[in-house]
């Protein structure tokens, strides 16, 4: 069944673009262009996720979020905002949003984060002791990684990077998500440091293999998967 998303965003062009993009990804999107309507739709229920702009006419995004959470509605919320400073992000997350994306954003980033959120909301996190993708195996207890019969020796940080990619396999993972998820950095290191780390990991995983597992998604980030 198609996933149902509620978009609360007052900028018509941005909203149109998100509605179109998510529609192309097979999702159903309802759109509200102000806080009050948004809250009305959200309480009506039935959404898998809500994308909520922070600065809205009528009722501020933080107020909408507060009212939702106070009303016992725990639909995952991805907050969008032009206020992108760390302090603003922390305020948004503290208020009860599940993720926070600063404007301007790439659609791929929005999609990647939304998918991640939907998955978290859908399946309860089960404790796992091993991860796999194709013939790549990662044992989280012994911290050993094997591609087929070949043992791969990874630095601790490379291990965590690969673990993150494996936990989000077949999904687009953006550079910002890697920075936050692997390094816990909430600032922009400027240069292409992440690309260098991924390319090192890729050499260890994919060099000499018939099927590459780490793919670059142009303009978005990376994806770990068996299909190119």
């Amino acid at each position: 069944m198609a996933q149902k998303i509620l978009l609360i965003e007052d900028d018509r062009q941005t909203a149109g673009y998100i509605v179109k993009g998510l529609g192309e990804e097979g999702m159903t999107v309802d759109h509200a262009d102000n806080g009050r309507d948004g809250l009305f739709h959200a309480t009506d229920g039935g959404y898998d996720a809500i994308i909520l702009d922070r600065m809205l006419p009528g009722m501020d995004g933080m107020a909408v979020l507060g009212a939702l959470r106070a009303g016992g509605i725990h639909t995952p919320v991805l907050m969008l905002s032009a206020l992108g400073a760390v302090d603003d992000r922390v305020a948004g997350l503290t208020a009860g949003s599940d993720d926070y994306l600063a404007k301007p954003f790439a659609f791929a980033e929005l999609l990647a984060r939304l998918r991640l959120m939907l998955r978290r909301g859908g399946v309860g996190a089960q404790p796992t002791t091993s991860l796999a993708c194709g013939d790549l195996d990662m044992d989280l207890l012994s911290r050993k990684v094997k591609r087929g019969a070949r043992a791969i020796d990874l630095q601790p940080r490379e291990f965590r990077l690969l673990e993150y990619l494996l936990r989000h396999k077949e999904q687009v993972v953006t550079r910002t998500m890697l920075l936050e998820g692997v390094w816990d950095y909430h600032f922009d290191p400027g240069t292409n440091v992440i690309d260098v780390h991924v390319s090192r990991l890729r050499r260890k995983i994919d060099d000499g293999e018939a099927v590459p597992l780490i793919h670059t998604v142009r303009g978005a980030g990376y994806r770990l998967g068996t299909e190119g």
Binding site: A82, L83, A85, V86, P104, Y185, F187, G190, G219
Partner: protein, 455 residues
């Protein structure tokens, strides 16, 4: 001669002033009391002597010399005149009556009140006494006196009491000076402490004062509070302006990058793709500049202090060295991190600053050279430094390098907006610290000195 620093301090001077004034007023008060007592004693003795003298002279006038001699004997025999001294001499100096053997050579025959030391008959020691001498009409001389030994003893005692009181006054004056200095400096310090903490970024603080009181300190506190209110309002205004600016510029940037993203998906034309990618990259640069400029403004306004947390800075630079390690290696640099330090800082901003400095070093340093990150603790401060061995920055240009949009390259050929060092300077100030650019001989050394506990 140089005056020691503590003597130049106005607190010390105020203390000394209060102390000296109290001592002088205490001494003056005691001397006044002593004077009154001495005066009263002398006046009493003088009255006694004058009364006796006048009685004797009146008797002489009535009853003549023989009557006077009888009266002298009577008076000297009575108890109230125990301290009296009288001498009646004939014109050639023979004693006619009294309890003094001879006319004392130091006393003229006709004198007013004076104090002399004389022997009375039957006494084994000379006694100080106040006397009056006069010449009677028949040429005889009359000397009337009153022993003032007791008075002198009282005077002596009051002198001793005064010295003792002065000794006691010194610690009391000291205590008074301490209390007065404490009260005054306490009030000044409360104002100074508020100003210091406001300077550190807590703009909501006000100088505590009792609104009902009307003195110079409450006036000062009220004026300072008025000023602090204005500053707080201005900063709040700045926050609104920067936030609106962020919003108004980010929305079109969002639309721009969305349009580029869509266009990229819909074309296969290599030339169009490369042009669109350039547009996207320029939009990214614009956004990065906007973000950094906003970060600088917010840091300058002291926004973000509530995000200060205890941070292992040594670990942080090690992490950053690890993140940048592969990139540095790829570009032919050796990147190292050393030292340990911990402090209460804005983790993200400090991380951003170090990342920017490493970025700069990678951009301007000498390939094949070393980029060194270090952190150490020194007398309550955390000293963070990033050094490279590139061309460095000439001393005359260092100030310009720290300015917003300050660019050292007039042609602006190198990429970057010239905001990295300005952000570092703003973040250092946010922490109450400083930034210095130095010569790494060769290369640039950027040093951030942050107070260890800025919270």
């Amino acid at each position: 001669m140089r005056v020691p620093a503590f003597l130049r301090s106005s607190t010390t001077r105020f203390f000394a002033l209060v102390f000296v004034i109290q001592l002088i007023s205490g001494t003056a008060l005691l001397m006044f009391v002593r004077h009154i007592i001495a005066d009263e004693l002398e006046r009493t003795s003088r009255t006694l002597v004058t009364e006796l003298h006048d009685d004797l002279v009146a008797d002489y006038k009535q009853e003549g010399l023989s009557g006077l001699r009888r009266l002298i004997s009577e008076r000297l025999g009575s108890t109230p005149a125990r301290d009296a001294a009288v001498l009646l001499d004939d014109p050639v100096g023979n004693q006619l009556a009294g309890n003094i053997a001879d006319w004392p050579p130091i006393v003229p025959f006709d004198s007013g009140w004076q104090v002399v030391t004389l022997y009375r008959m039957g006494r084994d020691h000379p006694e100080p006494m106040g006397i009056i001498a006069s010449k009677l009409p028949d040429g005889t001389h009359l000397l009337v006196g009153h022993v003032v030994e007791g008075d002198l003893r009282v005077r002596e005692l009051t002198g001793e009491a005064m010295a003792a009181a002065l000794l006691l006054a010194v610690p009391l004056a000291l205590l008074g000076a301490i209390v007065a200095t404490r009260v005054i400096t306490g009030r000044v310090e409360r104002i100074a402490e508020t100003a210091r903490r406001v300077g550190m970024g807590d703009l909501s603080l006000r100088v505590p004062h009792d609104a009902g009181m009307h003195d110079a300190f409450s006036d000062l506190a009220a004026s300072i509070n008025l000023m602090l209110g204005r500053i707080e309002a201005l900063v709040a205004e700045l926050r609104v302006v920067t936030d609106s600016l962020a919003h108004d510029l980010r929305s079109p940037l969002t639309r721009l990058s969305a349009t580029v993203e869509r266009a990229l998906r819909e074309t296969d034309d290599e030339a169009a793709i490369s042009a669109l990618e350039r547009v996207g990259s320029e939009a990214g640069t614009l956004l990065a500049m906007l973000s950094t400029a906003l970060q600088i403004s917010r840091a300058e306004a002291g926004i973000g202090r509530d995000r200060f947390v205890a941070t292992d800075i040594g670990q942080m630079i090690e992490d950053l060295a690890e993140v940048y390690g592969p990139l540095a290696e790829e570009r032919g640099f050796l990147l190292s991190a050393s030292g340990t330090a911990a402090g209460v800082v804005h983790r993200e901003l400090i991380g951003q600053v170090i990342a920017n400095l490493v970025d700069n070093a990678l951009k301007y340093g000498r390939a094949g050279g070393t980029i060194a990150l270090s952190a150490r603790q020194d007398e309550g401060a955390v000293i963070l430094s990033v050094t490279d061995d590139g061309p460095g920055i000439a001393e005359a240009q260092r100030e310009e390098a720290l300015r917003r949009f300050g660019r050292l390259d007039p042609a602006r050929s190198a990429s970057g907006a010239g905001l990295g060092l300005a952000l570092a300077a703003a973040v250092a100030r946010l922490h109450g610290g400083t930034i210095t650019l130095g010569d790494n001989a060769p290369g640039l050394s950027v040093r951030l000195t942050l107070p260890q506990d800025t919270a």
